[in-house]
């Protein structure tokens, strides 16, 4: 159909060609980024993991915070319950997550005890998510009861293998960014098509990384940092899988995740420059909320600088602390994702 229109209307063809040429450069850039990340992950997985976290961890959190603040409505109205549950729940679940380590050490829990602790936390997190779906479902008069069996299935999995469940969170979180980007591109069909082709190529790229990593040596060095990176990627949970393959896979996915938030989102997901807070509905609501938004983002900016300094002083400890506290942004994404994927739900408030 479009071909026929183009044949009849030369101006339409010219406009479409212009759009396509506008897509080509960003798509090529994105493909180059993915290719570079894949090569780095295959050749030097530990290096990529260290550098990517050092450079992008802080800024990507700040950009996520800015993105979600811009998607919060100025007045919550009927959504008050949803947003209260989302913010309160994610904060409480993060606090419980941070407390798990000290609790396990204080009570000298063995492997089985630690597994039960993770499974208990997972059960609470799943219950919270089901409640989020229920509140949103009631709000939009949609069916939400499917969330109960799905949640129970997730609980069964968490208790069957707490380690694998946690690993699912580690590897699943980077992929969530791809969903947000895809949704943001819904008004740019040509770009969305190009990005989806890139998404479709990711399994092939991953297969290439696995082939390159499976026969490679273990990540260089027996130092504590390398071991912690390998553990984070699941080396102790999946002992039969080569460490190098796990570290490479995780480093690659994490880098793509950072790329989406730090490089793509500021151009695609923001309707105004990140520092122009007038584009944030909550900022326009009242002086108090404007102050709160400003404080959150300014404080976040300071934290990014502090994080870089701490990484430079003691990378290993800072990395451990960061990945523990970073659970907050993992959890915050969940209710926004549910809202994004709900039948009538969109993050649009404008």
């Amino acid at each position: 159909m479009s071909v026929a229109i183009e044949a009849i209307r030369p101006e339409a063809r010219a406009a479409n060609a212009g759009t396509r040429s506008g897509v080509a450069a960003p798509a090529a850039l994105a493909a180059a980024f993915v290719a570079a990340a894949a090569v780095a992950a295959a050749v030097a997985p530990v290096w990529l993991s260290i550098v990517a976290v050092f450079v992008f961890a802080g800024p990507h959190n700040w950009i996520e915070a800015r993105y979600f603040l811009a998607r919060l409505p100025g007045r919550w109205g009927r959504s008050r319950g949803f947003f209260s549950l989302a913010i309160g729940g994610s904060t409480a679940m993060t606090a419980l997550y941070v407390a798990m380590g000290p609790v396990a050490r204080a009570f000298e829990l063995g492997d089985a005890g630690a597994g039960a602790l993770i499974a208990t936390w997972a059960t609470l997190a799943i219950a919270w998510l089901v409640a989020i779906v229920a509140v949103l479902g009631r709000q939009v008069n949609g069916d939400w009861t499917w969330a109960v069996p799905v949640g129970l299935l997730a609980v069964a999995f968490a208790w069957w293998s707490p380690g694998l469940w946690w690993l699912g969170l580690v590897y699943g979180h980077p992929i969530v960014a791809l969903v947000f980007l895809d949704r943001e591109l819904r008004r740019r069909p040509n770009m969305r098509r190009a990005v989806r082709w890139l998404y479709a190529s990711l399994p092939v790229v991953l297969a290439g990384i696995w082939i390159a990593s499976a026969s490679g040596n273990s990540p260089a060095g027996l130092d504590g940092l390398t071991m912690r990176i390998a553990d984070h990627a699941g080396a102790t949970i999946l002992p039969s899988v080569p460490d190098r393959l796990l570290v490479a896979t995780h480093a690659f996915l994490e880098t793509v995740h950072y790329g989406v938030w730090v490089i793509a989102m500021p151009f695609i997901g923001f309707r105004s420059a990140p520092w122009r807070l007038s584009g944030v509905p909550l900022w326009r609501r009242s002086r108090i909320s404007a102050l709160a938004v400003t404080m959150i983002l300014a404080g976040g900016g300071v934290l990014v600088a502090v994080l870089w300094g701490a990484f430079a002083i003691d990378y290993g400890t800072t990395r451990d602390v960061y990945f523990t506290i970073a659970m907050l942004h993992v959890l915050v994404e969940a209710p926004f994702l549910v809202r994004l994927l709900s039948p009538r739900g969109a993050l649009d408030v404008s």
Binding site: G115, A116, A119, L152, L153, A156, W159, S218
Partner: protein, 186 residues
């Protein structure tokens, strides 16, 4: 159902049978001996205990091996660690309730799944079940000893050899052997 969809469904079903049947019927057949002549590692009995080994560095000039008293005599009655009773119960109950509520949801919503959706879901399920059966058919019924980061102690597979002083310690509740080694240069 259109003829194409029917063909896809039949092909998928045949593929699934091809994946599942050989692995299901051959799951208990022992693997062949190593053609290189190397002896395979003997399969442990179900009564074997899983032991945690912790290797530490020390600034001292000799090595120590700390062994809990109870581990010097093998406790043949102990069972290997697997899922805890609570974990098994909760997982089982949640799985059962999931199926029950899933069925209730399907009945209540009175949804009729379309042919395409059914074929897609069945294909995904069959591929997952087939892959899992293929990968896990020979899995040990008892948990694997998780070597963890210990493999880094011998990165090239070369044996490490030396003497350590054996020290019997009181039980601390966890079955853990501590190997304390002098750092390089001490």
């Amino acid at each position: 159902m259109t003829s194409n969809l029917r063909r896809i469904a039949i092909a998928t079903f045949c593929c699934a049978l091809w994946c599942v049947l050989p692995t299901a019927t051959g799951a208990d057949i022992a693997r062949p001996d190593n053609p290189n002549g190397a002896k395979s590692v003997p399969r442990p009995s179900r009564n074997d205990q899983l032991v945690t080994i912790e290797i530490e560095g020390t600034d001292g000039w000799q090595g120590y091996l700390y062994i809990p008293e109870s581990m010097l005599a093998v406790d043949a009655t102990s069972q290997p660690a697997g899922m805890s009773a609570a974990g098994t119960t909760i997982s089982g109950v949640a799985l059962s309730l999931s199926i029950v509520f899933g069925g209730l949801w399907l009945a209540k919503s009175r949804k009729r799944l379309g042919t395409q959706a059914t074929v897609t879901a069945a294909s995904i399920l069959i591929v997952l079940v087939g892959t899992a059966t293929y990968a896990l058919a020979n899995a040990s019924p008892y948990p694997l000893a998780n070597v963890g980061t210990l493999r880094k102690a011998a990165p090239n597979g070369d044996p490490l050899k030396g003497q350590v002083r054996l020290i019997k310690v009181a039980d601390d509740g966890e079955k853990k052997i501590r190997l304390v080694l002098p750092r390089e240069g001490t």
